[in-house]
Symmetry: C2
Subunit: 566 residues, 2 copies
């Protein structure tokens, strides 16, 4: 039994029930819309909103994360499956279940192996670029539903040119209902909460109520289209028949060729879903001093995806907007999620007929409004001001996603951010230092009036030493020796060296030997404990015995010729 | 005119001439053997040993690097081209020239863009694993020539099983001559230099003479096979007709589909060749206090490869053994290389007939002996003792090369070493510190008797803050706050933080905000200059204004409640 259930307090019940209800009202249009985005029949979105919520409640570590279908993962599902099968076909739906199964299995395996740190390979600029690129791709993709035309294509340019070509076929009634919904939702987002507050509704409640606008749009538009018979008379595309009844449990194991096709998208879905989920969960948990355990999140999301696969769903993860509403509406425990699951089960068991006249254009409008809030141009501006390399990896990821698709884009982003990391560390800050007269402090000779010891080069390297910069340090020492042929001692100050990897160790070992053949002594100072522990047992450590000093001061005292200075 | 030529001194001439001659004697059998290894006709190896040497002499920065065909690059050439064309065919030879052209073009482009640092992406463990894996692959591949059988295959296991299957077809006379050469070369390597020294030859001269054993084996075996007519009577495979005359200059530009096939192998050949070259050149330059300029090496090796492509050759780079001999034999300037080139031109213009009866088995034996000296098992043992992650990336690269081939192996190695880098930095050393009584020193509370300030958490992080560890630091602070709910101030000591990337900046910004909402103050101390310069203009830097302290002591003084301590 999960801890939250064992220690459940009566006082939490009202909050959990309210939040569960409100999240359900958000979840109904979203699950239908995201299934459409993923290229799946509407009921698949509903299926993915029942068992996964219960599974996460049993194993996840967040008290307020709302799991279910989300926009970005739905896009990733579509982009993985559209080259493999016809959207809407039974084969496509089976592959979507298998994608959830593989993805869930990977999350469980990572959790069992405690590999939560894998997610850290995705830096914020990469994630931010990925989300923004995906959001733009999604929004542009949905424009065809607003226009009532077909405009297939995978990249942004392809989609846009298909849209332009299809413009003459615009379905005017569909465009009217789509634009009206879009306008209403955008207005609701910016004006509804302030209006409610002015009408006396408390701030938090107003914010939550404003999130229910999509449901209002769904109800009103469905009623208009249904009563007017606009699906038949005006050709407005609607959701149509949604099979009633709870999902059948079944297990469709992928065979080896399918596994080979799906493992990479499944891995990326698992990682992106996990990172998104954990960052939402963490920001909410911090507000209540709760704790998110990444390895438990892996298990929670893993079983949620396996549960989705078993019950006819598709990949799920923790959603940003729904989790925030869940939190704000007073959820205290995952019981809120269980309540949502029960209500969704009720809907699918009895009320699917209500969705018959729901227009696709309205769902598309809710998707567009939801994803445009994910577009974060400011993140690029901030990154550019702070760190160009990070800004470029953000931009590269976003452009990569838009031009090449989600998989190639995110892989390019990871490569860019690792490249940026190595590049930055490959040009470490180094300073030749001397003693501030009369003190035990040592500063850059270029910036301060300091004393140096003739024949001694004291070089401070402000970076860990590893394969990308060891040679740079070696080169710098070589340069200094050429500039001053009288140098007989080289002191490397390691106060900022947190690690020395095997490559740097080899470079230093060789440097020491080649200096020794020229009668020049290498010395180290301020080597950190963990670095020293490793160095001790190496050949270099043994050769340097007696020439590794605790402080630069000690090294200077040793280096100072005992004869009176000339 | 290169600087070495402008400032040439007569005193260097004798050394350059001797070294040029001795290197030529090594180069003749090696160029024939490595062409065979690369799947090319023997003259291609000779062609690659003329113009490239002159081109490098004009632009390279090393005084003693001996450029030309080398074992590992020959293997990479074979593995790139064998899937695309029949070895020995004209098409194959054209592709080899194009490979050299693309590779040379890339080196020139990297040089022009000053991208010498790109080579640092290959860590020593990856290079070491790559060289060892390649050497084993090469040695096993040559066994078929010693046995006189055909045993094709790309991976080690494939080659070995083909060898086993072909064992019954062993050509006994070939095996005898191959084994005899192998035994002689191995003996020469271990015993010749000591014997010569005992006979009164100086150490350095003896070492150089021992390197000429392969030429001796070539001369003797060619004479025996030639006079005995063993190629006809005993079926020993020989080099046969080698076209006489200098190479024709020609330019075979690759078309777009060819470029698509060759760019990745060309890039890897460029990088591996560059890294190998620079590391040899650097170790030799250090002994004479000369300087290697990586960006000039890119240009030198780039034109050498373009020259090789223009004159019917294939990819070249600086060779380890030949460069060491060149240095030891007294080369002072690249004139030694020009001398070698002239002598090679003489050989190909007049004496190619002498190679007719040279047995393949003898060339194979020289290759095997040359590459077994590259196998470095001890590097793994050393890496394992020092750093498991580095040792695993070495092993992964070696196994990858042997099982999957050179390209996949080296890419796996790069991924492993980047992974190791991120993984290591993702678990930074952190310590809660307090004041050593009566001093301004601050130490780990777990290891020393120190004073702390009630309500203040002082945490030192011994690592740069970046995407892979920012969340770990945030989690640690969260843990400490849960353990001691009375904490009201969090001090982050940044003395070992050399960088803060955009991800870590965001995490810290969010941390500061969420702490602030709980009435907890975030402070920083000992922020380094370059980090501070960037931080200042950020939202976090502005919010922290007045709470960033030069020293931990200042921060403790600020944090100390002014009321008398309870």
């Amino acid at each position: 039994m999960p801890a939250w259930l064992r220690d459940y307090r009566r006082a939490w019940l009202a909050g959990d029930l309210t939040a569960g209800l409100i999240v359900t009202v958000m979840l109904i249009p979203q699950s239908l819309a995201y299934a459409m985005l993923a290229g799946l029949p509407p009921q698949v979105g509903l299926y993915a909103s029942i068992l996964p919520l219960v599974a996460y409640a049993a194993l996840g570590s967040s008290m307020t994360l709302a799991v279910g279908p989300v926009a970005v993962v739905s896009l990733m599902t579509a982009s993985a499956l559209q080259p493999l099968a016809q959207s809407g076909s039974a084969e496509y739906a089976t592959m979507a279940m298998q994608l959830a199964l593989i993805s869930g299995g990977m999350l469980l395996a990572f959790g069992a192996l405690r590999l939560g740190f894998l997610a850290y390979f995705l830096s914020h600029p990469v994630i931010s670029g990925f989300i923004t690129g995906s959001a733009i791709l999604i929004a542009i993709g949905q424009l065809s539903h607003i226009l009532g035309v077909r405009a297939p294509g995978s990249g942004v340019l392809e989609k846009l040119s298909a849209l332009l070509a299809a413009l003459p076929q615009t379905q005017w009634p569909t465009l009217v209902i789509g634009m009206a919904t879009l306008a209403f939702l955008l207005l609701a987002r910016s004006a509804m909460a302030p209006l409610l507050v002015r009408a006396g509704v408390p701030d938090a409640t107003a914010a939550v109520l404003a999130k229910l606008a999509p449901m209002l749009a769904v109800v009103v538009s469905t009623a208009i289209v249904g009563y007017g018979g606009l699906d038949r008379t005006a050709g407005i595309a609607v959701v149509g028949e949604v099979p009633r009844g709870l999902p059948q449990l079944s297990l469709a194991l992928p065979d080896a060729p399918m596994l080979e096709l799906l493992w990479l998208p499944a891995l990326l879905i698992a990682l992106v879903g996990f990172v998104e989920s954990v960052s939402v969960a963490q920001s909410l948990a911090l507000k209540r001093q709760q704790r998110i355990v990444p390895n438990r999140e892996l298990l929670g999301l893993g079983v949620a995806n396996v549960a989705s696969a078993l019950s006819g769903g598709y990949p799920v993860t923790g959603g940003f907007a729904r989790s925030v509403v869940n939190f704000a509406a007073g959820a205290h425990t995952p019981l809120a999620g269980v309540v949502s699951a029960a209500l969704m089960a009720l809907v699918i068991a009895a009320f699917t007929g209500l969705f018959f006249h729901l227009p696709h254009a309205v769902l598309a409008a809710t998707i567009i409004v939801a994803v445009t809030s994910l577009i974060d141009v400011d993140a690029f501006r901030r990154a550019w001001r702070y760190d160009r390399a990070d800004a470029l990896s953000l931009l590269g990821t976003a452009l990569g996603v838009m031009a090449l698709g989600v998989e190639a884009g995110i892989l390019a982003g990871v490569a860019l951010s690792l490249g940026a990391l190595v590049w930055r560390s490959s040009r470490p800050h180094m300073a030749v230092v001397g003693r501030v007269p009369g003190t035990e402090h040592f500063r850059n000779v270029l910036r301060h009036k300091v004393e140096t010891v003739p024949g001694l080069l004291a070089l401070r390297v402000d970076e860990s030493l590893f394969f990308a910069n060891a040679t740079v340090v070696e080169d710098r020492i070589g340069d200094e020796l050429r500039l001053d042929p009288a140098l007989r001692q080289v002191l490397l100050i390691c106060s900022a060296v947190n690690q020395i990897d095997a490559t740097a160790l080899e470079v230093l070992t060789e440097l020491e030997r080649s200096l020794a053949t020229r009668g020049i002594v290498l010395m180290l100072a301020e080597v950190k404990g963990p670095v020293m522990d490793r160095l001790r047992s190496t050949a270099l450590g043994q050769r340097l015995d007696g020439r590794i000093f605790l402080s630069v001061h000690d090294a200077f005292t040793y280096a100072q010729p005992s004869a009176p200075p000339s």
